[in-house]
Amino acid sequence: MTALRALLVRDLRIALRIGGGAMMGVLFFLTVVTLMPFAIGPDLALLRRIGPAILWIGALLASLLALDRLFAADHDDGSLDLLLMGRAPVELAVAVKGLAHWIATGLPLVVAAPILGLFLNLEPAGLGAVVLTLLVGTPALTFTGLIGAALATALRRGGLLLPVLVLPLTVPVLIFGVAASNAAVVGPVPFGTPFTILCALTLTSLVVGPFAAGATLRHGME
């Protein structure tokens, strides 16, 4: 347990340090949301209608940004080998790394979402719904992304391979995240229905992600 806590603290410290890139995701998020009205037009009514979708797409892309370095950096300095040989199960170590990554990059997106939502003219109910769905949904994005991060490290390839592999897997999370946000504003279904399914998807990814990523690392590093 102490080992896992030490790993969490270490990963957070590295992420917040200079060169860690924890805030890079939020900056990217802000940039994407700022660009959207230039493409769509400054029509506030339209922006309000598609605002949740814009925020979700921005968060989805931003959460993928730093993923390819998640295990690759550890692989470069050799600490990944220690994790793989350590007494703590690899799956748990991977899950802790995912948690640290989410705290460093996912949580800031959730915090930034209300401010960006104001740009998009979201009403308070919609704003709250988007923040809540992002809070529940971004862990699913991070933990699904763990699989891609592990693949990128095991294959020693980064770059575009990761998003190409991971993005199709995030379709359900995107669907129910945006659906729940919209349901809070326009209906017709109650907010709870898609939101509960979103929670279920997150819980599933919390289990599947670390196991698949752990297996990838174990097989890939032999």
Binding site: I147, L151, A154, L155, R157, L161, V164, L165, P168, L169, V171, P172, I175, F176, A179, P188, V189, P194, I197, L201, T204, V208, A212, A215, T216, H219, G220
Partner: protein, 244 residues
């Protein structure tokens, strides 16, 4: 012949060489019968002759899914049983699955144009097939980024398994997504049940397509084994040249 005997690539190659001509002949006969039935099938009273697109569209869709199922079994063979031919089977299957899914999408678009007035609608079924197609392409990209086949094989196996878990979830979510946004106005499945005069050619066509898939897959596996042998020989040659 036990399952494990096939683990020897040489024995497998011999078996493929013996089986492939028969399989090809069988496929040709199946296609002859099925095409004959398909051309003889009556036109639909609403859709006219365009209903015949179905004879290609439905088998291609079936094989797109069948192929992922087969790759899942191969992935288990790679990760659990370490069967030496499992990742060969998986690798050979990916382009075939992608091709059949592509055929399904294209024929669907061509069928959609006269029937629905548009090449593409974001209908639940179309969308989930499209996502599956993208995932096939991702697998191809994965296979093409890594030179060492065994390492790529394990990574691809894990991705295939995750995809197999995810595809039903995607299918379900997309169904939900579409029913929320757009009630079934374009695509109606609750038409009359298919009449035997069309159903029998359709089943024959599906069988013929499946035979075609198996034949192509065996041939692709053979090519992949030979390709790996060539690769090993080249590596040895390069090593020898360096040593000399």
């Amino acid at each position: 012949m036990a399952w494990i005997d096939l683990a020897n690539p040489t024995r497998f190659l011999r078996l493929v060489d013996r089986a492939l001509p028969w399989l090809t002949a069988l496929t040709v006969f199946a296609f002859a019968y099925a095409l004959n039935g398909a051309f003889g099938a009556p036109d639909d009273y609403q859709q006219g002759a365009t209903v015949k697109i179905m004879f290609i569209h439905v088998p291609a869709a079936w094989l797109g899914m069948f192929c992922w199922g087969m790759m899942t079994i191969s992935a288990l063979g790679t990760l659990v049983f370490r069967h030496p031919l499992a990742d060969v089977a998986a690798k050979a299957a990916v382009p075939l699955g992608a091709a059949f899914t592509f055929v399904c999408l294209v024929t669907g678009a061509l069928w959609g144009r006269p029937m629905w007035g548009t090449y593409w609608v974001w209908d639940a079924r179309l969308t989930s097939v499209l996502v599956m197609f993208v995932m096939y392409l991702g697998l191809i990209a994965l296979w093409r980024t890594v030179e060492d086949p065994t390492r790529a094989g394990r990574a691809a196996a894990i991705l295939t398994l995750v995809g197999a878990l995810n595809l039903p979830i995607i299918k379900f979510s997309v169904d939900w997504w579409n029913t929320l946004h757009q009630p079934a106005s374009v695509v109606r499945v609750d038409g009359p049940a298919i009449h035997p005069s069309i159903l029998i050619p359709l089943l024959a066509m599906t069988l013929a397509f499946t035979l075609l898939f198996v034949a192509l897959h065996l041939a692709a596996m053979r090519n992949e084994i030979l390709r790996r042998r060539v690769r090993t020989l080249r590596l040895l040659q390069a090593q020898g040249a360096r040593g000399a």
